[in-house]
Subunit: 368 residues, 2 copies
C-alpha cells in the first residue's frame, strides 16, 4: 500500500529529526518545522496512522515517536534526500586517501581508520582475495653461502618469495635445472594436486638440488592456500561510546564484542550482492546483538582480482544519507586509486626517464 505524500513527508521529518536529536519526536516538533504547513493535531493523526502501519513506534504512551526498523528501511530506500558531499568533505577524504598505501594489508588498516574518522563511527575494512591462484612461474636465486631465494609468480600477478637457508652446496646450474623442472611440473596447479607422488617425481628429476624440493613444495602449497582469505581491521570502536544509544554499557559491549569477532562471518553474506552500497537496518542483521544497530557497507574492486570492503557500524538512527554518501565516495576514490596507479618517480630526479614513450600508455604496475 502506497503512502500519501503527506505521510511520507511526516515520516521523513520524523526520521531526520530523530537522527539529529536521538530523542523521540513529538507532533509539535514536526509541526514547527519550517516547511510543514499543518498543525500539530494533523501531524498527530498522521503519526498515529504511521504507527499502526508499523513505520513508527512509541517507547511509551506519552512519548514522541521513534522510527521502527521498517520505517528506517522505507527511509533508506525511498525517502532520504541525496546527501551532497561538500567540497570540504571530498577534499578531506581525498587528501586522506592520497597518502601512499603500500601493501594491501597495511592499506586495509589505514582505510579502516580513515573511514572511521570520516564518519565518526566504528568502521571495518576488509581485503578479500578469492581462492584459486596458481603458480605461474618459479625462480631460484643463489644468494650467497647456503642461501637461496625462491620467487613465485602467481597467476594473479602477485609475487612472493622466501629465503631458504640450507647447509647445502648447490651451483647456479643446479638451480637452473631445478627451476626448469618445477616450472614444467608444478605450474598452473592448485594446491590440492600437490600429492606425494608429484613430489616424488619432481625430486627424482631435480638433480643435485633435490633436497630443496620439499621445502619449496611445502612453501608453495602453504602460500597458495593462505593466499585466499580476508584481512579485516576494525577501527574507531571507541566512537560508538560517544553516542547516546550506547550509554548503556552492556549494549555497547555486545556490539563491540561482535565487531571483535563475529563480523567476519557476516561479510560473505553481504558480499554476495552486487557492487555498491548496502544498508542493513537493525533487525535485518543476522547477529542478535546487532538487532538495534545498523551496518552500511560498500564493496569495491581493488584490482588483481581482489575485492575491498568498507563499512561502518552505528545506531539505527544514523545519518544514512550522509554516511552512505561518504562511504560510496570513499569506495569510488579507492577504486580509482587502485586502477590508475601512481607513476613512480624519484623525487628530484630527471623526471624524463629517457626512453621514447613507446605505446601502451596504460600499464599498471602491480604490487601486492
Amino acid at each position: 500500500m502506497e503512502l500519501s505524500e503527506r505521510k511520507k513527508k511526516v515520516l521523513r521529518s520524523v526520521v531526520d529529526l530523530y537522527i539529529r536529536t536521538a530523542e523521540p519526536v513529538g507532533s509539535k516538533a514536526i509541526a514547527e518545522l519550517p516547511d510543514m504547513k499543518y498543525s500539530s493535531a494533523t501531524i498527530r493523526n498522521e503519526m498515529a496512522e504511521l504507527t499502526t502501519m508499523g513505520y513508527l513506534e512509541q517507547p511509551h504512551t506519552s512519548a514522541g515517536r521513534v522510527p521502527s526498523a521498517s520505517g528506517y528501511r522505507l527511509y533508506v530506500d525511498e525517502l532520504m534526500m541525496d546527501y551532497r558531499l561538500s567540497v570540504d568533505e571530498t577534499r578531506s577524504i581525498n587528501s586522506a586517501i592520497e597518502e601512499k598505501m603500500q601493501r594491501v594489508d597495511k592499506m586495509v588498516e589505514k582505510v579502516a581508520h580513515l573511514v572511521s574518522q570520516a564518519t565518526n563511527l566504528p568502521a571495518i575494512s576488509a581485503g578479500i582475495r578469492p581462492a584459486g591462484a596458481t603458480v605461474k612461474r618459479f625462480d631460484l636465486i643463489l644468494a650467497g653461502q647456503g642461501s637461496i631465494i625462491l620467487v613465485l609468480m602467481l597467476s594473479d600477478e602477485q609475487v612472493v618469495n622466501k629465503l631458504i637457508k640450507l647447509p647445502l652446496n648447490v651451483t647456479e646450474t643446479d638451480l637452473k635445472l631445478l627451476s626448469a623442472v618445477l616450472n614444467a611440473a608444478m605450474t598452473e596447479l592448485d594446491p590440492a594436486s600437490f600429492t606425494p607422488e608429484l613430489l616424488d617425481k619432481v625430486m627424482r628429476s631435480a638433480g643435485a638440488a633435490a633436497s630443496l624440493v620439499p621445502v619449496i613444495v611445502d612453501f608453495t602449497a602453504e602460500t597458495l592456500r593462505s593466499r585466499a582469505g580476508t584481512s579485516v581491521t576494525v577501527a574507531g570502536q571507541s566512537r560508538l561510546l560517544g553516542l547516546p544509544e550506547y550509554r548503556d554499557v552492556d549494549k555497547a559491549q555486545r556490539v563491540l564484542a561482535s565487531m571483535d569477532g563475529d563480523i567476519l562471518s557476516e561479510l560473505p553474506a553481504v558480499m554476495q550482492g552486487a557492487n555498491g552500497t548496502r544498508v542493513l537496518v537493525g533487525p535485518e542483521n543476522v547477529a542478535d546483538e546487532l538487532k538495534d544497530t545498523s551496518v552500511v557497507m560498500t564493496k569495491f574492486d581493488i584490482g588483481d582480482g581482489m575485492q575491498g570492503l568498507i563499512g561502518v557500524v552505528g545506531p539505527t538512527r544514523m545519518d544514512y544519507a550522509k554516511i552512505t554518501a561518504r562511504l560510496s565516495y570513499f569506495a569510488e576514490s579507492l577504486s580509482k586509486m587502485f586502477s590508475k596507479p601512481e607513476t613512480p618517480q624519484l623525487p628530484g630526479s630527471t623526471g624524463q626517464p629517457g626512453i621514447p614513450a613507446k605505446k601502451e600508455p596504460d600499464n599498471p604496475d602491480s604490487k601486492e
Copy 2:
C-alpha cells in the same frame, strides 16, 4: 621507612580483596579473612595508618579503603605472591600459540587476540623493526613480456620483491648488467644517500635497461624507509566494558580512544627499559586519560632483530600477579617459537627431507 609485617599483610589483603571485588574494603572484611588473627578494630588502626602513609585512600569518610597508586606500586614490587600458572593455563596458552603464524604482521594481530583472550582484557601487540636496514643484494628476473621481478635481499635477512611492468624490451644480459651495477653502487646504503647524483651515475652505467633505474631506486628507497616502524594491533577492546570501573561510559571511551591512537607514542618510552615485564600503575602513565588505568607490558625478541611487545590495559585494580604471569609466559613461549622454527614438512610427504636436519630460522617471506 619500612612497614611492619602486619601492615604489609593488611595492605596485601586490601589489594587482593579489592582486586576481586572492585569495592572499597572495610576493616571487618579483612578481619574475617581466614588467616587474619586480629580484630577489626586493630585492622582499623593499621588501615588508618596506612592511609596517612599514602598507601590507601578513602573514597569518602565512611567507606572502606581503596589502594592508592603507591599502594599498588608497593604491592607489585614487593607484596604480591607469585602466581603459578596452572597446567590448564599453560596448556591453553601453548595450544593457542601453536597455530602457525606465518608473517610477522599477521602474527602481531593474532597474538593480540590471544593475549586479550588469555587475560580477559584489551591487549595490544606490536612488532617493532629497528631502522637502519640496507640492501644486501639486488636481483632482477625476467618474467615474460615486459615483466621484470625485482628482488631485494636486505641486511636483516628479509627479502622483498616487486613486479615491474614496462613497455620495454630488455634481454637477460641487460638485466645481468643492471643488477651488477646496482649491486656495486647501491648496496649497504641507507636511503638518505640515494641522491639524484647517485641515480644519475647508476643510470649512465646501466646500459639498455637504464629506464628501469628510477623505478627500482624509488622502490628501494621506499622499502627501506617503510621497513622500520611498528605494526600495532589492539584487540578485545570490548572486554574493558565488562569491568565495573568502566561502567562510566565517558571514562571507558577516553581509555579506548587512547588505545585507538596515542598508545603508539607511549610504546617507545617503555621499550627503553630492559627486556622483561613492566607494570605501569595508574598515574605512572604519561597519558592523562590513562590516569586510573594500568598497563602491563612485556618485550621480547622475535629474531631478525625484530622486537615483539605485548601488553594489556586494565583498571588499576587488575590482578597483577595473574596478568604478569600470563604475559611473561606468553612472551617466553613466543620467543621460543621464533628462535626454534617449526620444521617445514609436506603433509603426507616423505617426512625425511633427506638432509641433515640442521635448519636456520626460517624467514617470514615479505612481500610488498
